[in-house]
């Protein structure tokens, strides 16, 4: 008996269990949700995770800080750049490594481009879960443009390993900056099109308004972060609250909605893309000259003994890295606190007493990335 089970007539035996997943078109990966259904209505939902467990935390205990560099971007393949940069920033803070100005600006541009590409993929897959196939391909087309831009300097399109302790691996050029500015102008127009096609659509509104409401107390109980939290009315963004890197130099808003339903989450993410464009435009116009990789980086990365916690705003929420160092080359313990893990653990409370089709919409709207849950 699940704690979130809706009361049910004990005499009624007309309920059944449905396995949504591990292979299901809308679980976005190998994840399983055990649904207890009464007709189309969900009595209880139990997410079962771990199908994509790759033991990143164990890997971290077996290799030194530098060798763990390619891993963070594999934890969440959609926000790879943000995770990659975030891990570098965590180690840089622990080691007190100075990062050159130019590198910081490059990181901001890449981070925000990556955030937009992640949100675009979310938009596409979310709408595909709702049955609209065309916006999915439009979103992928735009995402492809971002990947092309990032591909030019990072050499990868999905799992970036671009940041290094003390900067980035390759300098950007004017062509890159031009591409970015062109993309910004193009994308602002394109967002309006999305809004016409999607946000205004009456069917989309019917499917999302009032669906999958995160009750106000849920935030505190389950440590909801990111766009899901902002859709509940909390103006909470790691980039504003604990500005890491140089986020405190940029002027941007934290979009919030109060309803906490799928539609609010959609609006928050759409607005977030617009704010990311704002940050990128500022960063591109202020781009300083100079080094892109610090000249003096310690050869051996050995943070002083103690615990470190560093969190970044990933497209899904607050991604935290807890590093326990014993003063050696190898982390004693590296815990990855991933936002999707918290969000999916709240699913039993959110999904109870919704419809089967809503379960799909909710899963789509919270933007889960299964490897990030399983790590």
């Amino acid at each position: 008996m699940n704690r979130f089970e809706v009361e049910q007539d004990p005499k009624s035996r007309d309920t059944y269990y449905l396995n949504m997943g591990p292979q299901h078109p809308s679980t976005h990966g190998v994840m399983r949700i055990k649904l207890h259904l009464d007709g189309e209505r969900i009595i209880s939902a139990e997410p079962i995770i771990g199908y994509g467990h790759r033991a990143h935390e164990k890997m971290a205990e077996n290799r030194d800080y530098i060798q763990f560099l390619p891993n963070p971007s594999r934890v969440d393949y959609l926000g790879g750049m943000i995770y990659n940069v975030g891990y570098c920033q965590a180690v840089e803070r622990a080691m007190d490594i100075e990062v050159p100005e130019r590198a910081e600006y490059i990181r901001i541009v890449c981070n925000e481009l990556n955030r937009i590409s992640s949100h675009l993929l979310w938009l596409g897959t979310f709408l595909m879960d709702l049955g609209a196939f065309t916006p999915f391909l439009y979103a992928f087309d735009d995402r492809e443009k971002i990947l092309d831009i990032l591909d030019r300097i990072t050499g990868s399109r999905l799992t970036y390993c671009y940041a290094r302790f003390g900067g980035v691996i390759l300098d950007i050029d004017d062509v890159f900056l031009d591409n970015v500015s062109n993309f910004c102008t193009y994308f602002v127009e394109r967002l309006k099109e999305y809004e016409k096609l999607v946000i205004g659509n009456v069917i989309f509104r019917e499917r999302t308004i009032g669906v999958g409401i995160f009750a106000p107390d849920l935030a505190q109980k389950y440590a909801i972060t990111g766009p899901c939290l902002r859709a509940m009315g909390h103006e909470n963004d790691v980039r504003k609250d604990e500005p890491y890197g140089i986020y405190d130099r940029f002027d941007f808003d934290v979009p919030t909605q109060t309803e906490g339903d799928c539609f609010a989450r959609t609006l928050v993410r759409m607005e977030e893309m617009r704010q990311s464009i704002r940050i990128i435009e500022q960063a591109v116009s202020d781009m300083p000259n100079g080094l892109f990789l610090a000249a003096r980086v310690p050869r051996r990365i050995r943070p002083p003994e103690g615990d470190y916690y560093f969190c970044v705003e990933s497209p899904r929420g607050s991604f935290g890295m807890y590093i326990a160092s014993d003063g050696s080359d190898i982390p004693f313990r590296l815990k990855l606190r991933t936002p999707s893990f918290s969000h999916i653990s709240a699913m039993p409370a959110v999904m109870a007493s919704t419809m089967l089709a809503d379960a799909v919409a909710i899963l789509g709207s919270i933007d889960i990335v299964v490897p990030e849950i399983d790590r």
Partner: protein, 153 residues
Amino acid sequence: MIADKLSSLLRDTTEVQYDARGFHVQYTASADTLPQIADAFLSENFHLEMITCQDRRENDDAFRLIYQFNQYGMPQRHVIHADIAPDATAPSIAATFPAADWYEREIFDMYGVSFDGHPDLKRILMEEDYFGHPLLKDFVDPPNPYRSEDDAS
């Protein structure tokens, strides 16, 4: 204030340098007071950011549970260290913070630490019939039965 509520429950309060460490206060507590600590944090509008564990059997002959609480708006991270003996169980705080439910399952899965009063303590990331606890320092990776010799490179 959270500090007043916690003063009777915690020892070794250390204010740490936020700029270097990323959290504000670090405490050491004994494991059996964890439910009271959780209640205190809940009443002060904190949320449970994460629970994790360290295998310190080699140095201190203990597992160290690490609870991290934070609050929305103004970040205020409180980290609580609670050492438990390798064969002891810790009290569950899933009743206070439902978020702890999965974290405690994960620690049970990865370290074999049991939690009293957990609603449904079972493996979460590894399959249910798995034998070991992978994040223990003395864990040995078993040979993969599904991979044939000529496949291995």
